[in-house]
Symmetry: C2
Subunit: 371 residues, 2 copies
């Protein structure tokens, strides 16, 4: 029995490995499969988080590394925790900070107890241990905390991967212990590493399954690989995760990757793709990505995507959006971000309906999706 | 009789020169005195214009110079004009472009027929004449077009001011003629120049009053002067404008300036102050400007201003806003902009109520207003 009050109920799809479920904790609930937008610094860029449930997002991800450095977890705690800070009523998942330490921080020094690094903001020396990662996430008041793990590069040699898995396993258990000592109502998810090595992944997943984590994630998959490789890994590794718990594919992904991973049995996703692409002027559409800066849209009164209910598509034209981007007006990224989020919300609605009613959704547009 | 279908009705205040009125044209209406936020490039920075009526703004200003250079008035026309472009149902006033030509453009060459300049965006040579300024504003589909005028610097010598007034008077008449040739349903406002010289201002106002413009503006007042000088000029020059028509004080201003000018009989204002200050982290409050980046707000759960109904004050804390500004997150300027606009909307509500019910408003906070 899990010590936390996390409820995850799902129905296996009529065919395939997909699962249609509901994840509930601390009085908050999201249908699954769910895509979590990324509120890196405690905000989605350009959108107030209170709008997310209306757009269709009942869970989001915030970054422990960024928030611990600025404004600092004790400031977030003093301001009432992430839910109150952002005015977000949905589920908040925080990563452990590990991934950013390994990708952003400078001068890392890794030891068995933890990792010391210098902040990318001001060079300040910071120490992160499994216990500290959980304490920070507790101070941030997230609903789901991730264990601290070592994130070796995707191209690491087998020996390095093995050592990273061993260390990450020990850190995961220390994280869980620290998490339980901090109180039981939050969830703690484990992370399975192991690169592209099925045996390593299987061994680590097997070890982690012996502990009663509230959910299990696949880490180290969306770290620069191409889309086909990501899909391939999601399909191979998803079945390694315990079937009764939520399965989370970290940092993924594009519509095609999400759809493929759901079919392999993944329940949760997070990715900056919709919001980052929006700010760069790349707008999702079932008819193919709309590059809104392109001259062809200059006098177009068409919406970005026919039938999309977002503000950009119902209240603005492609021509106006293009003007806003070329004139470097904030409203461009704001409207584009809402559009891409609504696109992903509708994608996930389709994904869930497809699990309830196989064949209900026409996915032929996915073949055209270049992302 | 005016050839346009502009209706301006007002009641003189029980005491003083203030007027409480309503300006109606093309089926659109705003209570006066009114403050027009500035949508320089066809958008308020960070706020979709459809929200403005709800916030309390039934008129806004857009800049002819900027829009003519990018995206170009024919593109705006192709996209349905400014109202459809921005999805704004209120009154749109466009300036003539003259002010920006004299303040932003490079290599100006002025002659009696018009002005040739190079765009600050790409150096392209552009020609602006009174007729062209009206044609552009017509293409933009604004409700109120301003005549093209020459804008000499505030410190210009009397001879230069005289010559500029003479030229501006001729240009105003050519503008009105061009405006009428383009169709009668829009309004055309004249601009009185003359620097700080009462006799020059009076002479030019007298001349312009002989033509039946739909409104009269004071130009060249808010161009770098200090607040006391602006208030002094507004009070001295407002009575020069025809009493039966809307009176517009261009580019003004701060709460103290607006309140003083309303008492002198001004009906319309525009200024970037609320929106620009917001982006710089200066938030208006009756208790004094809140400099939101300051460390004192780091862990403050207080709203920017008690009793303010805006999103920033009801859904966020000073601590969160400070974090958003320090982290360079778009949501900071977005929330700050809404707050400052709501502050000005409530200011204008108070201004109008004060005219209806003298003594109803406690203005003592204005003395503390540093802006």
């Amino acid at each position: 029995m899990s010590a936390t009050r996390v409820r995850f109920e799902f129905q296996a799809a009529a065919s395939g490995s997909g699962r249609r479920g509901t994840l509930t904790l601390r009085g908050r609930s999201t249908p699954t499969p769910a895509f979590m937008p990324v509120a890196t610094q405690g905000t989605l860029k350009g959108i107030h988080a209170r709008h997310l449930p209306r757009l269709g997002f009942h869970a989001l991800l915030a970054n422990t590394y960024h928030l611990a450095l600025r404004p600092g977890e004790e400031t977030v705690r003093a301001l009432g925790g992430l839910h109150r800070l952002m005015d977000y009523p949905g589920i908040v998942l925080t990563d452990s900070g590990g991934f950013q330490v390994f990708s952003l921080a400078t001068r890392r020094a890794l030891d068995d107890d933890g990792v010391t690094f210098r902040s990318h903001l001001d060079g300040a020396e910071v120490r992160l241990t499994p216990e500290r990662a959980m304490a920070i996430q507790h101070a941030l008041d997230s609903d789901i905390a991730m264990v601290l793990d070592e994130c070796p590069p995707a191209e690491a040699a087998r020996g390095e991967l093995e050592r990273a898995c061993d260390r990450s396993l020990r850190w995961a258990r220390r994280s869980l212990q620290a998490h339980r000592a901090l109180g039981a109502e939050r969830a703690c998810f484990a992370i399975v590493q192991g690169g592209r090595d099925l045996a390593l992944r299987a061994a680590m997943a097997g070890e982690l399954a012996r502990d009663d984590f509230d959910g299990y994630a696949l880490g180290g998959i969306a770290v620069g690989e191409d889309a086909a490789t990501i899909r391939d890994q999601a399909e191979r590794f998803a079945p390694l995760l315990p079937a009764a718990k939520p399965r989370y594919l970290m940092g993924v992904g594009s519509p095609r990757e999400v759809v493929a991973a759901v079919r392999a049995g993944i329940d949760l996703f997070d990715c900056v793709l919709p919001t980052r692409n929006a700010r760069n002027g790349f707008l999702f559409s079932r008819a193919g990505t709309v590059k809104i800066r392109h001259a062809e849209h200059a006098r177009s009164t068409a919406p970005v995507e026919e039938g999309c209910p977002c503000t950009a598509c119902t209240r603005a034209t492609r021509g106006y959006l293009r003007h806003l981007f070329l004139a470097d007006e904030m409203l461009g990224p704001i409207l584009a971000t809402e559009h891409n989020l609504v696109f992903f919300a509708r994608l996930m609605e389709d994904v869930r309906r497809d699990l309830e009613q196989p064949g209900a959704i026409d996915w032929s547009w996915l073949e055209r999706d270049a992302a």
